[in-house]
Point group: C2
Chain length 596, copies 2
Amino acid sequence: MSYTAPIKDMLFAMKELAGLEDTATLPGFEDANFDTAQAVLEESAKLCGEVLAPLNVDGDRNPSSWKDGNVSATPGFASAFRQFAAGGWQGVQHPVEYEGQGLPKVVAAACIEMLNASNLSFALCPMLTDGAIEALLTGGSEAQKQTYVPKLISGEWTGTMNLTEPQAGSDLAMVRTRAEPQGDGSFKLFGTKIFITWGEHDMAKNIVHLVLARTPNAPEGVKGISLFLVPKFLVNEDGSLGERNDVHCVSIEHKLGIKASPTAVLQFGDHGGALGQLIGEENRGLEYMFIMMNAARFAVGMQGVGISDRAYQKAVAYAKDRVQSRPVDGSAKQSVAIIQHPDVRRMLATMRSLTEASRALGYVAASHCDLAHRHPDDATRAKHQAIYEYLVPIVKGWSTELSIDVASLGVQVHGGMGLIEETGAAQYYRDARILPIYEGTTAIQANDLIGRKTLRDGGKVAKELLAGIAETVEALGAQQGAAFASMKTQLLQGQRALGAVVDFVVANAKGDPNAVFAGSVPYLKLAGIVLGGWQMARAQLAAAARRDEDPAFHDAKIATARFYAEHVLPQAAALEVAIVSAKGDEGVLALSEDQF
Amino acid sequence: MSYTAPIKDMLFAMKELAGLEDTATLPGFEDANFDTAQAVLEESAKLCGEVLAPLNVDGDRNPSSWKDGNVSATPGFASAFRQFAAGGWQGVQHPVEYEGQGLPKVVAAACIEMLNASNLSFALCPMLTDGAIEALLTGGSEAQKQTYVPKLISGEWTGTMNLTEPQAGSDLAMVRTRAEPQGDGSFKLFGTKIFITWGEHDMAKNIVHLVLARTPNAPEGVKGISLFLVPKFLVNEDGSLGERNDVHCVSIEHKLGIKASPTAVLQFGDHGGALGQLIGEENRGLEYMFIMMNAARFAVGMQGVGISDRAYQKAVAYAKDRVQSRPVDGSAKQSVAIIQHPDVRRMLATMRSLTEASRALGYVAASHCDLAHRHPDDATRAKHQAIYEYLVPIVKGWSTELSIDVASLGVQVHGGMGLIEETGAAQYYRDARILPIYEGTTAIQANDLIGRKTLRDGGKVAKELLAGIAETVEALGAQQGAAFASMKTQLLQGQRALGAVVDFVVANAKGDPNAVFAGSVPYLKLAGIVLGGWQMARAQLAAAARRDEDPAFHDAKIATARFYAEHVLPQAAALEVAIVSAKGDEGVLALSEDQF
């Protein structure tokens, strides 16, 4: 059940694909060079491997539990959280002025991947706290920032996001929680929020709930939603804790996976009203929430990468250990480790190549975010911001969808043992399943990819990326050997398929919206496959250039990329067919509701 | 949580695709006409819908439990099993001379599908009993048949298959259980068997274990394995029960899914030896077991269909009920049921089309089995037997692999509610996961497809099927409209891809076995997709011919087939690329063991 952070692979992706050394030239990131990144990753790997990973199974077998409104985390979690906090890990990506580490997002991305690979349930608590910090930094007053952000960064307190209500899941327009002004600038909140991750627990002294609610006379729909800060314990002016606020956990859910992370039903205002403060301006709550959600969506994408890698590591270990059957090529008379069997090798190569591709795409997205925030030139910042925003739904949707396939293959590699819960492979299969659902389902990500990220600029960003892929295809042509030839052929076909689909989306969204949105998730997956394949091709080229420094490592990169080219990239053409044949609504929508 | 057997869809597949009316002309099946089939299905649907389906959730929440060597089934299961037995359902496909119903396998297939859709854990007990009956009918003496088969068919006793040992999973050559001859024709067995489904329980008076073991001086490997009958209670000459035998359940497993079905560790001979009888001849155990396993593999394929359909029904019900968000085409100002959203429609259509295609392929395979057993002409029987044997690994491997995707989509349709265990969608996702593992993993099925089913006849059966597909492609050309045009284009491409892969397999298996076997599972999936697509095309043509009899029903068939053509069949080309690029070992095997 151990986890070893793949530091070498991570650093390769950061340096060769995500341009870590360029990031370190940005203002404020001068210290974040390769050596710093390596040192940070090594420290993070220790905590994750030694403290958090061993608790992962405990959390599954002995989930957090609810009693009389209180939630106890799995034994060992609170102590691990204190170590996490003491190491400064909550602050990795947050500003130095609020006592964060101020490191680039590309370094934080690797830390987030490790945290989630080692213990997904645990990692959700810091992830939600990151979201609360982002929202406060974006919309909060200076007083709110000073009071709350350093305590969240230190891990003394944790944060939550309160969006969902029973009738308002993907559809936030239906939020009903009320916020009544008290005349002194404060509000009292009344309502029920569900699916609140780490919404109640005993790992920190206070919990800072960020809550979407409506003020009286607010406009209907999403334009009438405001964001409120509602602490579990009220905070005195000196920062000390005051009275218990009127927000209570009435139950936690019994879930398929991530069992150690309590998923709370929170009741606001059943005993007179939960005291809260407005964050930013009234009716702009969704805007702030979206900033925080973009950060969270990126992080969920990295959860996909993390769980994929964990499942992969476990499957490799089992396949090297389990001896069963003779080789099909007759090369041995005795039974061999199952990793010798071609189909097991194929499964492991699938897991490995998908994990590496999704990691690379995530880190590259993170570096665009760094450039968008720190580059001195306005136009360059804007350009990278647009690319980052295009990539976020893909990183979130594609990395998480594929993590289910990877975790499922991990079970398959284990054969019958994979079904036995004590083996541990099944936990990843259960844990991964939520990833394409929370923080916006894959369909929500895909709608975002079409609406805000493709149509709004008429496909401009998508086409810039397609031009970048074309350059890589050309560079592949200058290489010798079958691995590069395969990649060149398949990446070019993928690039053409993605280009055709972007054109289809832009041309038909207005006239035939049902057809275009019926292809939304296939478009997202196609974009993930091709953009991930692009990173694999770039990895192949970088590995070729540096081969002699470490032949075994770089040959593995070249071979893994080739596998991806031959087994994953060909799916691009199949997705293109599915998407473009929807024209005229007949494909997906020919069946009426009654015919289902 | 209800289940309604899709009788109309089943009868359509049986009549229009699997040639039910031709089956009813075979000797012994004269009574098995359409009306009989319909009546049988309707009765089966009642039992499954009213008795078994409601117990499915109970079984998951309150699994069978072990205490002091005894296993108690979930409350309600024993009574349901008595109803199942009293209705004669265990005997549907077994010979009349042993008190079975003697119905065609194509009718039994529909009953098996229903049984598994309603309650997979429950259905495993009859499934294993079917296997024991098959093995006894194949290898047993007349006395053994007379003593055991009627009691198994009546449901008074149940049966098990004991193959796996800790060191012998896929690799039965490593079986170590010993059988020592006692001089009187009987044997004493000593050893440990694991993963024995319904290996101990309280639903029947006796359990008939069929056990693979080695006699002294038996040859090494699979050629030294014999099959033994070891009852839980010894059976007196008059058929009454005697002493408790020395086979004991020492524990049951804690599993990801199918929790109500006890998975036993059985200890044979710890108290002096478990008394057993040889079935058939010594050292031919694997041969008998394979006959029983072929029947079981087909049945597991139908489990895949069943769980897919159950997940589909649940997702449709939720999608029609759950109201969330306005339509993307602006056709309504208020929120609508999520089935109105194109991506939800796409997910449901994916679930539906995969379920229908795998059902059709299963029923068609069953009808080949019927022809292979009952046709008066030797050559015709042999021809259909060869086709049936080619199809069994595909029905088993493909239907079960896709059932995971279908169950996973079912969770996705439910959004956050899908993760909550009380919703029920997660159970199908957990239950389905074992299907591609037990009774031979997908890799084992794929090895069988390549070795015994493709190479042995040089691809002859595969090419007969390809010729049949070509005929259907031609017939599609005579139809008007986009649905048929799409199917024609995609089925033709799929047919070419499968043809190219069969040629690749035949040409390279000897010279480059690792490359060919690295593509074994992709070949199996490709064959499933194309042969399933063929059945969807045949359904489309049949629906067109009968459209006026019931336009809504037949239009739905035509539209579902079109969806399959555009969303599923294009994957065939992607799989072809993955398979044929393995040539020269470099694709899958370029990464050495150390590089993982």
